[in-house]
């Protein structure tokens, strides 16, 4: 069958297996290389095996929960959305969440995902107590900051290349409502948005939408959205009736792949202008529900189909703090010149690096979604080069097209990762199309 990541590019002929027991996964180990796959939300080919792809979604059981400290033990295939559905009504929310809730815990660990609170609370790693990992010998190892610590470090952000993540224990965050108090700030150019990020470091959540159509003096014009979990005591009475926002989810569904790109240059540019205009009109503080704040796109099921048959690719890099301003300027200028209309342009301040191989580093991360065309692939290559010039690196969970050469130049940690893969014999057993492409 054809498999792809969320970007629907590349589409690769793959053999997908859905084991129901750990014993079954072990037997697959002896029949060739494997890679675990969660809910397929990595954008590219991270979770498509060269030989076999192991669908982990049968492993979707919650195993233990301590309601006093919010410590939850789950199998790797449990979805973040299921965790929210189960625990938000009891006053718990994920500590770290990416921009979609339809990811598995195993995938979140493998990518060491970050959220809008990375600058303050760190990546997924900061809420994982331990991981159970199936190694090449078919043994199950418990990994934590104190037990098999080095392997724990490689596994957080290791893209499933250290073994199969079977279970984990994570910590949830106590909240008293499902509402987010959002404050929107308009920044008129790149200097202003960076300045705003820096002076708002104490905000729990922060993210900016960039109006990539703005050029010249307005380059980097953006809307910064800060967020805090609203406290029950401060919530307006009308909202308190739906304390955990359980009655307000409308979902839309893209039921087919359109023969043309709905998200093309024209529509995307119009959307961008409209979004900025609408955002500007609603600056200031308001309460919005968690679903809309964290997962605006999740309410539109299979929105990835809007890019048509060729799919789309996300470019996401992080630049070190000291070179961020100039690097971002170059990246935005290049994207603006190319006029290839990314649908999304998102900027976020990240905190320091914590894992051995995780994506985040102290600085700024910029993400663009592009429909896949010859022109955008070419543009992304240019963006790759600018990133490297400014000392940045790339997010493997989003990557679907980077060259091995670019990857090596961007990340000096690759050498150690490859050595680890040799020493632990994981290179012989856990292989994805991405690890093949990047020589991991």
């Amino acid at each position: 069958m054809k498999l792809s990541g969320w970007g629907r590019f590349p589409m690769i002929e793959a053999s997908l297996e859905s084991p129901r027991s750990e014993a079954e996964i072990k037997t697959k180990l002896s029949t060739g290389t494997i890679i675990a796959r969660g809910n397929g939300r990595a954008y590219g080919d991270s979770a498509i095996g060269r030989d076999k792809t192991i669908d982990m979604r049968n492993f979707n059981h919650m195993l233990a929960f301590n309601q006093h400290d919010g410590i939850l033990e789950v199998e790797a295939g449990v979805l973040l959305s299921e965790i929210i559905d189960t625990f938000l009504p009891r006053g718990w929310f994920p500590f770290v969440t990416p921009g979609t809730k339809f990811v598995t815990i195993g995938g979140m660990i493998a990518s060491d995902v970050h959220g809008k609170n990375h600058h303050k609370e760190g990546s997924m790693r900061s809420c994982v107590n331990w991981i159970d990992l199936l190694n090449p010998n078919g043994e199950i190892l418990r990994l934590s900051a104190t037990q098999n610590a080095e392997l724990f470090d490689w596994t957080m952000g290791g893209m499933g290349l250290t073994g199969v993540i079977l279970r984990a224990q994570i910590r949830l965050k106590q909240v008293s409502t499902g509402w987010i108090k959002q404050k929107t700030i308009v920044a008129n150019n790149l200097d202003e948005i960076i300045n705003q990020f820096e002076i708002n470091q104490s905000a729990t959540y922060s993210v900016a939408w960039i109006d990539y159509l703005a050029t010249g003096k307005s380059l980097g014009r953006s809307l910064l959205m800060l967020g805090e979990h609203a406290d029950q005591a401060h919530l307006p009475k009308s909202l308190l009736e739906d304390q955990y926002c359980q009655n307000r989810t409308t979902r839309y569904y893209m039921s087919f792949v359109p023969p043309f790109k709905v998200l093309n240059k024209t529509t995307v540019n119009a959307f961008n202008a409209l979004y900025f205009w609408a955002g500007k009109r609603t600056t200031g503080t308001k309460f919005i529900q968690w679903n809309k704040y964290f997962y605006p796109l999740d309410s539109f099921d299979k929105w990835n189909r809007l890019y048509g048959r060729n799919g789309f690719a996300q470019f996401q890099c992080v630049l070190p703090l000291k070179s961020s301003k100039y690097g971002l300027k170059r990246l935005l200028e290049k994207t603006g010149e190319a006029r290839q209309g990314p649908f999304l342009a998102v900027l976020k301040r990240l905190g320091p690096q914590s894992g051995k191989f995780s994506f985040p580093m102290e600085g700024y991360t910029l993400a663009f979604d592009f429909p896949v065309t010859a022109a955008t692939l070419d543009l992304m290559k240019k963006l790759d080069e600018i990133t490297i010039e400014y000392g940045g690196r790339f997010y493997l969970a989003k990557d679907s097209r980077m060259s091995k050469k670019i990857f090596e130049e961007s990340d000096s940690r690759v050498v150690d990762f490859r050595n680890m893969r040799q020493e632990t014999a994981t290179k012989k057993h856990f292989v994805s199309h991405q690890s093949d492409r990047l020589g991991l």
Binding site: N60, H61, M62, L63, A64, F65, E75, E82, T86
Partner: protein, 243 residues
Amino acid sequence: MPVALIIGAYSDIALATAYALAKKGVNLQLAARDINRLQQTSSDLAIRYDITVDLIELDILDSDYFGDFINNLSPLPDIAICTVGMLGEQTADQKNLYEAVKIIRTNFEGPATILGELTNAFCERGSGTIVGISSVAGERGRAANYIYGSAKAGMTTYLSGLRNRCFKHNVHVTTILLGFVDTKMTAGLDLPKILTAKPKSVARVIVRSLERKSDVIYIKRIWAFIMWIVKHLPERIFKLLNF
């Protein structure tokens, strides 16, 4: 909140039914031969839906133990659902006495007698609902599956009798007639899509039948139509057919 006992709890239909009931806040007693395989499911149900889940060992072929099994249920459930079934392999089993007996016992003797015992306890209490899973294969014997089919025919008849007997005791009996279902039991068989139900939709129908106190339900209504025709074919023609 009511308590439901599910017998044969590791089957896909049982699992889907357990989740559908848990979602409604029903506490569960899950009985299966190997309860270790249900540990994860039981913790998952209890955590997600904030209900109690008991795991109880039960071998459907070990009827000596049925009395103890029922006495040890705490509490005696409000609902008892039996999903036990075993398809077997007709062409091999018709030449293998041991296997043929096992299929008849697993599909008829075991489920019928345990539900019979539970019904006695329910009647004594004066309330309760029994759900038995049978099959359209029991509506007419065919060369392709008459061992399984005849056992299911027995099951259907038994349930019908139970329902008739218990009506005045405020105990309700529902018969669920399955066609093809996409489960572990039928894995590898090439089933026509339009006639094949998913375990989840079977579970939905079971839960609905509990709410409506239905008597006999075909899963996928088209089966009622198909079986009507099959039942009414004259035997002289039927025996010539190859299906």
